[in-house]
Structure formats: C-alpha cells, structure tokens
Amino acid sequence: MQNNSLAHAYALAGEENIGKTTFALELASMLGADPVFDVFVIDQDELITAEEARSLQSRLALAPAGKHKVAVIKADLLTEEASSSLLKTLEEPPAHSVIFLTTSNFYSLLSTIASRVQKIMFSRGTDDDVKVALAPTGTSQEKTEKIVKLAGGRVGFALRLAIDDFFLELVENSQQNYELLISKSLVERLKIAEKIASQETPEVRFFLNYSLKRFADSLAPKDLGKKLYQALSDLESNVNIKLAMDNLFL
C-alpha cells in the first residue's frame, strides 16, 4: 500500500475463523472503500452461484463512492461454474477494484485462479495476539480469559466470541459437551447424548463440526473422528437424532 503497488486480487489462505475476512475488511477501509457502497462480501453458508459470480463483474465495474471497490469472497463456496465466471473477472479486473478470496485450502482453488492471485498465508496467533486483538473491543478480563482458551490462537474466532454472546454460549456448550464426549464415564456420556439430542438440528450440527475441529487438534481416540463423521452423515440423512447421538457417545 505504501508503494502504491497493490495487486488486483489476493488469496487469503488459512483455517476458518482465523481473521482472513477481518483482515480484508480492515484493508478495504485503509484503501478508502466505503463500507456500504464499495465493499461486497459473499460469505454466506450456501454455495456461490454462477449468477452471483457474474454480478461481481458489473458491481466492481461501477465507479467507487470512495476510492476503491472491494469484494471479499469465500472461495471455498464457489461452484465450478462460479469459479469460471470469477476467472473472467480476474482476467480483466475493473480499475479501482481489489478482490480478496478467502480459503481454508489454497490448493483447492482452480489452478487458473490460483495463478492470478497473490497468496497470503494466515496461521494461528499466540494467546497474546488474541488478547491484543480483543483489547479494543472493551471485553472484560474474565471474558477475555475465557475467550482466549476457546479461541486457540484464532483471532477472527475470538473477535466473534467477543461480540456475539449467543455464539459464545454455543461454543462454550459445545466445548463442555466435547469434553464429556472424550471422558471415560459411559453414564455421563449417555446423559449428555440425550441432552444434545433434544436440541435443534442446527445446534447439533454445530456441535458435531466443532467436535471434529477439536478432534483434529487433539490426541483423542482415533475412532472418534469416524464416529463424528458418521453422526454428521446421519444428521444429513435425517436419521433419528437420538439414535445418532447414542451411537456417537457409546
């Protein structure tokens, strides 16, 4: 930025909730992109359609209200057709535009896209990094300590926990349930299986995905990963949730 030599497109690569989108939005602000008129974020949970990717070209082509137009796109959600449309935009990027593709796996990008973007890798920070990131949010010391433990160095995740009490509650519950899942007491495990099964499907899905991430980071028994995948698969196939949870916690 200081040398005025920005690329038109960047791939911000690193695991989820590590701060890639936060970084992109901060940079958009520093570039003078108006947050309402110039910044275009696609980070919903659904796949990005070819039509959405096509509309990107015309949106970025408009004159900026501020100094730049910026698109932040969760590239992991691009369909094949959407990737092809995006490629056209990357081949002929509109003036004043900067595109940030966020991805948890840089190598999952089409090679034609990967070759047209500048790669920036994101890795987990330290607990101190998380504390520094939380400081401007005015989070209490007690809550900060709690969040630091849950975040495991993921700055973006920590910031979301700091501002979204519902999300914090969900993560705390999932963490407690995960700890019970890997505990040795069968009675306790079955009790918690019943409790989880009584929750709404999205909450159960969140717990399973959270547990999978924790499993990947830990030294939990090897068959746990298989069981978690099976439970997720059961959930998507509309298998009785109670049955799926019993199988998981047995």
Partner: protein, 339 residues
Amino acid sequence: MRRVKFILTFLPIIFTAQACDLLLGGSDSSGIQGVFFSVDSGDSWQAGKPKGEVNLSGASVWRLFVEGSKPQNIIAASANQGLLGSDDHGATWLRLLPDFTAYDAFINPFNDREIFAAGSKRRLATIYKSPDRGATWLQVYNEPTGKISVTVLAFDRSDSETMYAGLSTGTILKSVDRGDTWNSLMADFDDRVVDLAATRNVVYSLNLQSGLHRSVDGGRTWTDVDFDEAANSFNDLYVDPASEQTLYLATNEGLYRSTDSGQNWSKLPLPASPEVTNVTAVDVNPSRKSQIFAGIKSTVYRSDDNGANWRTIQLPTNRTISSIVIDPFEPNRIYTGLR
C-alpha cells in the same frame, strides 16, 4: 441490558418478485406515506406493499438504509410503525421491531448480523441493537429523562468500533465498543440533531436550527461551520465518501454544496417556486457522482449534470420526502421514505 425477543428472523437472502402495481397515474393516492421505489432512476415510482399487520401507507418514515453487500435488504425507521424491513428491494415490508418510535436505523456494514435502531420507547430516548438480524433486540441506551428521542444514528465509515447518536435535545453520544455502551460528548448543542456523518476523526453534526458543526478529533471539540446564507432550518446532510470536503446541505431555503469543507457554499438551482424551497432530503448516486437527488415536499428533483439542470418527478402523495437512498450496485434503483 434488557432483551426483547421476537419470533421474526429478519432478512433471509431471498429475492422475491417485485409487486408491479404502478401508482403513477393512480386516481386517489394523496396522503400515502411509507416507502416508494423506482427502478428507472426516479422516472416512475411504485409504493411498497405491507406484509402482515404493517400499515405501510400510514407509516411515517424518517430514514431508509440499504444494506451494502445485500442491497435487496432495506430497513425503514418509522415514527409510528416501528422498525420496518424489506428483503425484496422494497416491494414488500414487514415489521421488525414494534412499539417503538424509530427515527433512524442501520445494518452494521462491518458485521451484517447487527442491526441498530434509534428513537424513543414510551417517550424515553432509546437505542436498540440486534445481534442476530432482528431475532432479538437489546436495549443498549436508555435516557431516563422523558420526552427525549434519539433522532440520528451513525457509524464511523472507517472504524468498525465507533458509532455516534444525536438526541432531540442536541446532545451527541459516542460509542467506541460497537454500540454496546454510549457516553455523552462535551458537544451539547441546544437543538435537535438531524444528521450525523463520521469518517476517521472527522464528525459532522447537522442540527435543526444551529446548522452544521464539525469536529476533527472524534467529537471532543467542535466548531461551527460557516453558513452565511438565509436558511434557518436544516434538514439533511450528504458527505462524499471519497472526500469529506464535499458536502451537500438541504435547508428550508434550498440545496447548497461546498467542496472545501464548508468554507464556501453555492446554491444549486432547483426549479422550485419561490414559496416552496424547503429541501428535506438529499442524496448523491454513489457510482455516478454527477447524479444528485433532492426532495421538496413530495417532489423528487434529479440532476444528471452535477446540479446544473434538474428534472422533477411528483410522487402520488402530499406527504413529505424524508429520506432518499440509492442502491449501491444497481444505480437506477432509488428509494424514498415519506412522513
């Protein structure tokens, strides 16, 4: 903080077909308030339609806000119908927050889960924050003295943590924690705040009678912006996102522009009759800076050449245009709120 929970979850990202009830030329539409929208740069207008129990045509709308990344989502602050929302480019509207006199609202552009609404609840100045797109609401500010309203709400366009609010008494509030807590600034003007704009440390406050004030240190100290014209009532302010030196001021004596932070002003030649000069709203197309919109009573004024020439479009109502907003990505899509 008091929490209010509603069954509604606002703004799914679903586009539904627009209603196509063209009102221009309708026989009896006088007195309609609510929201009108245009898909042809204001040449023709349609009225939004209510969904559920909303009395949209009787809604006194004070401010509209279009969500940047998902411009099909629009919210309208209404003094008598609460906070209203549309997820189909203004075609249909439902109520998001009832029993609330709303004067201003926005969806946080730095965190689109959050919606803020300002106004009064049981005649007490109140700011609500929803952390989940309208499913639940937290009362984050409550002024204990009665008969006061929060009239304006603004986010700093370059800082996701900082927000400002203005009261009917002239007091200005600031939050540096994303709207969770609010503190009064030393600036305590005596008249209603009608608009606020903030970028980095530069903050403008437009007050109904005392006019425009500027702070260059995040609201700690303020100076009056010179304005030697005849106007004595100020209604709306537009600050160019690319340069905070370019300002538009809607007043009871016409529309003014400054390109040097208010040191010099020029009056734009709106073709209004001498007795009808009260400009109540102004906006500039974010992607076509030479296209300017203004509202006088129920007439929309549009200039395509930076204010040199104007065309007028009369809305089918006698009400007053309070807010004009433009879709950030479809520059022909314009919305007006009426009160």
